[in-house]
Assembly symmetry: C2
Homo-oligomer: 555 residues x 2
């Protein structure tokens, strides 16, 4: 993590009588500045939240820009960052907590009820968007004299700009008021992140010389293999953690150890996936889902509260850090000198247009397809909602930046004008979409769904929607994670009556019920979970192996 851009800060420290004899000090300065800035973001973001237009992400971006400007002046217009962008930092430390937390906090009932639609948007959608953006760039870039990139670079651009950033948008959507919209946008965001990264790796690996009609099939095969193995790994790790805590710690709970095991095993699942070149993101996301479904119910009440909030806090800090960095990077003089400024603006325009088209090309057709399968009128995705889904996915964020740096730079530096142009336009795209679209989203939703915003703003008086919602979860653990209190006896009866006819009429709902039956009969007795762990810690009788179907809340 070496850098040499903090010249004036150094001189300032020398004047204070502090020696500058080692790298250690550099490192300490970097960390101190970043920690101070994150603190400032949290405080400023909180103060500005009252205006209802700005959130922490935008604050972090703007604060990052300002800091970059200060650093730029103090270093004599040579560099704007304090910390070199480090892919390792991003993929090993910042991304895992964000994605794990997404899986851990997702409302599972909503997520799985809309599973088909989410997968359509998140997988098929990314493929469509990827094709349009790649083809569009390959067609437009040479025509507009932006530069001649390789085929592989165009394909990479397609994946880079297919990765949406839903974090920023979700801060204005309310999970209680618009559950369908929220779960669709949130679910898509997560699956989309994973798909983009998996697709990006497939593109990087794929051999340009042997391109044939089989290439697309090959990439798809790779993708499916990665998707499947990564999911299995994540689910297994989650189940293992549930089993360990249920078997070992039962009756002799130790809050700190339980929390440590959950956090470490989640992280381990990500690292093992990375080790075998799978998608750590998918792995840790599914690990989060499994942990919140089984493991979370096996631990003490204190562990539950702590994990909910500690994981959310880590994710929040990581996000703020990323936005700060992006803000700081905007003014990086080296990139602007190497890049052709007019070409950058041109590329930015082209990409923005392609992102608009690429997203429209899958949101509206796939929504129609999804509506076709939805029988009940209330659950259909109407035109207004489709527009919001389209809009909410236009923002590009940290994943795009990280992928762009990976493809077009060598450890954060680039000497090639064309690559520098692509990096500059990526940063412009992220900055513009986050700030402008981010600020516009709330008024826009108010315009399109007038009832919802008034509700959302009432809620935002006390706390942000996301946090508010988790709080309800904890206050009422038996309704947590969006499941009913109906028990499984009913399900069992229904299944015996006419499972085949039901499967034909309402496939999703029947699959959900089949799953609940399987979960209650086989999974929960082994791995614990809500209703299968006695409430009193230390109770000697467990009795969760026999008769869980009779009354799960007594067992």
């Amino acid at each position: 993590m070496e850098n040499n851009h903090t010249g004036l800060l150094y001189e300032f420290l020398i004047q204070l009588g502090v020696e500058n004899n080692n790298e250690h000090l550099q490192y300490v300065i970097e960390i101190s500045v970043f920690v101070t800035l994150i603190c400032a973001c949290i405080v400023l973001g909180h103060l500005l939240e009252e205006t209802r237009w700005i959130n922490e992400s935008i604050t972090a971006l703007i604060l990052g820009c300002c800091t970059g400007f200060v650093v730029l002046i103090t270093t004599g217009w040579t560099s704007s960052h304090i910390l070199e962008f480090n892919e390792e930092l991003f993929f090993i430390y910042l991304l895992p907590p964000i994605i794990f937390n997404a899986g851990f906090q997702v409302k599972k009932k909503q997520f799985f009820q809309n599973f088909a639609a989410i997968m359509l948007y998140g997988i098929v959608g990314v493929f469509i968007s990827f094709a349009i953006i790649s083809a569009g760039c390959a067609f437009m870039f040479p025509k507009l004299n932006i530069g001649n990139l390789e085929m592989r670079d165009y394909l990479a651009l397609g994946t880079i700009f297919s990765a949406t950033d839903s974090v920023c948008t979700l801060q204005v959507l309310n999970q209680n008021d618009t559950p369908l919209l929220y779960s669709l946008v949130f679910g898509e965001g997560v699956v989309n992140d994973a798909t983009s990264i998996v697709l990006f790796r497939a593109v990087q690996k794929f051999d340009i010389t042997s391109m044939s009609s089989m290439t697309a099939v090959h990439i798809l095969g790779d993708f499916l293999y990665l998707f499947f193995t990564s999911t299995v790994l994540g689910v297994s790790t989650g189940l293992l953690s549930a089993y360990i805590i249920k078997t070992l710690y039962f009756g002799r709970h130790s809050t700190d150890r339980e929390i440590a095991i959950m956090a470490l095993m989640a992280y381990l699942s990500y690292m093992i996936a990375e080790l075998f070149y799978l998608s750590g993101i998918l792995t840790v996301f599914f690990c989060g889902i499994v942990m919140s479904h089984y493991t979370w119910h096996n631990v003490t009440e204190r562990s539950r509260v702590t994990t909910r909030h500690a994981f959310a806090t880590m994710s929040f800090i990581a996000e703020t850090f990323i936005f700060l960095y992006v803000g700081m990077d905007t003014l990086d003089a080296n990139k602007w000198k190497t890049a052709d400024t007019s070409a950058s603006f041109c590329a930015f325009g082209v990409i923005m247009l392609l992102v608009f088209i690429g997203r429209a090309a899958f949101v509206f057709p796939l929504s129609a397809l999804s509506n076709y399968a939805r029988r009940t009128p209330g659950t259909k995705i109407n035109a207004r909602k489709q527009f919001i889904i389209w809009w909410a996915g236009l923002i590009r964020g940290a994943v795009s930046i990280a992928l762009a740096f990976n493809q077009f730079t060598i450890s954060g530096k680039t000497m090639n004008a064309e690559n520098a142009t692509v990096i500059s336009s990526t940063i412009m795209m992220v900055l513009f979409s986050t700030v402008v679209f981010g600020i516009m989203t709330k008024p826009l939703i108010a315009l399109i769904l007038p009832h919802n915003l008034s509700y959302a703003s009432e809620n935002s008086e006390t706390s942000s929607p996301k946090v508010e919602d988790l709080d309800t979860d904890i206050q009422n653990p038996f309704l947590a994670n969006g499941e009913h209190e109906d028990g499984s006896v009913v399900v069992y009866g229904l299944l015996r009556r006419s499972s085949l006819s039901m499967l034909l009429h309402a496939p999703t709902s029947t699959i959900h019920k089949l799953w609940r039956y399987f979960d209650n009969s086989y999974m929960r007795p082994v791995f614990g979970g809500r209703g299968f762990v006695p409430c009193v810690p230390g109770s000697p009788s467990r009795g969760d192996v026999d008769g869980p179907l009779e009354n799960p809340f007594i067992a």
Copy 2:
């Protein structure tokens, strides 16, 4: 963090069809192995806890040794570690959470009531022990042909072996049953860590050529300056965090942001102290104390539970990591080849003897001094307790290792035989004292204080003593942190009657009452704290500025 010792692991991965084309993979392997080992330690430690002889520290050490042995075999007897020892890793990432948590979880009433005794042991004691060990080493090493070190090295050895490791011992002492003993050993451990590091820095800075009678005075002056400035910095940061949360977040609480601010500001205090060459340890310790006294009471109930457990978990993971590393380092072939084995054993024997003598030389006289000031017979430190205090401080741990690596190696490697000898004997000392003394402590306490162990083992059935205790704190917030419900009206009345005569008769107790008066009248109205923050979040009326003395529990 480069290393080249995982040859066979690499070949294994190549056989699995995984490429080994970059440093990234190395890094991923290192992290995966360490995270897996920490998980194994937690699970094994929990299983072995039932035997009541072994704890997580010892498990981590032994597991580290075993892993080191495996690595040693796979790499063809060249190296035993997966990760190079990195001072930065230790001082920037692992130490701050451990020390902060110590300050955050300390029972403040006990700590401040025994403040004088703790400071005597922790500061005067370290100076005495430092003088004896330095002089002893300087006298014995040349006589036993262990090697001729410089004067500075002998002084460094004195500080290195004056740093006790109380973590391991505290796992067998019970805070509820032997509060006096616990607070003395725990308090001494923390102050001792800080003093040793400060003294070590003073020794490193000090100029050997201009040694005169003023040297000791100079070191003492340096020490006092560092102690004072570091404490002020820690207290200020803690108060700032309390003020920010009390002023900004009041009525619009956001659990995740509150937690983030507390964690980040604590870390920032450490980094700023390091930036200005102060003692980050002292700073973050006092920051922890202030945060648990003021900030912790200003946040939501959920933030309180989360911070208590999240900080404890981080500290626990960091400790386990350090013990794992020490275990792995034991078998490092490079050091054993460079070092003279018989000299190492000789040095180990000498150092052990000097540690025994050095500790006895201050524990017994200073206890007698402390007893002289204690009027009530029940609070006196009797001979049995003195013996346990002496014994509990014999274990050497991570701080000793870190300081030894800092003084005697260049980024973890040494080519000099004498330095390698010192490193080897340090590792032997840490390993031997942790494992042997660690295992002996519980039976020893049972022998000397028979009643206490029976009580402690009853408690350890359900959870470790430390955690159990925190739990009581949370269940009953108004009795938390060892304070009474008597209110301050009484204190105020007593003070008016005869403060001077009281000051003469019971100095500590009077200072404590004066502090309570000051705290209630001036500090809590500004910075919040127990009883000064309304229980209902979002309540518009605060009324904590006027009349806090009448009834603090209504305000």
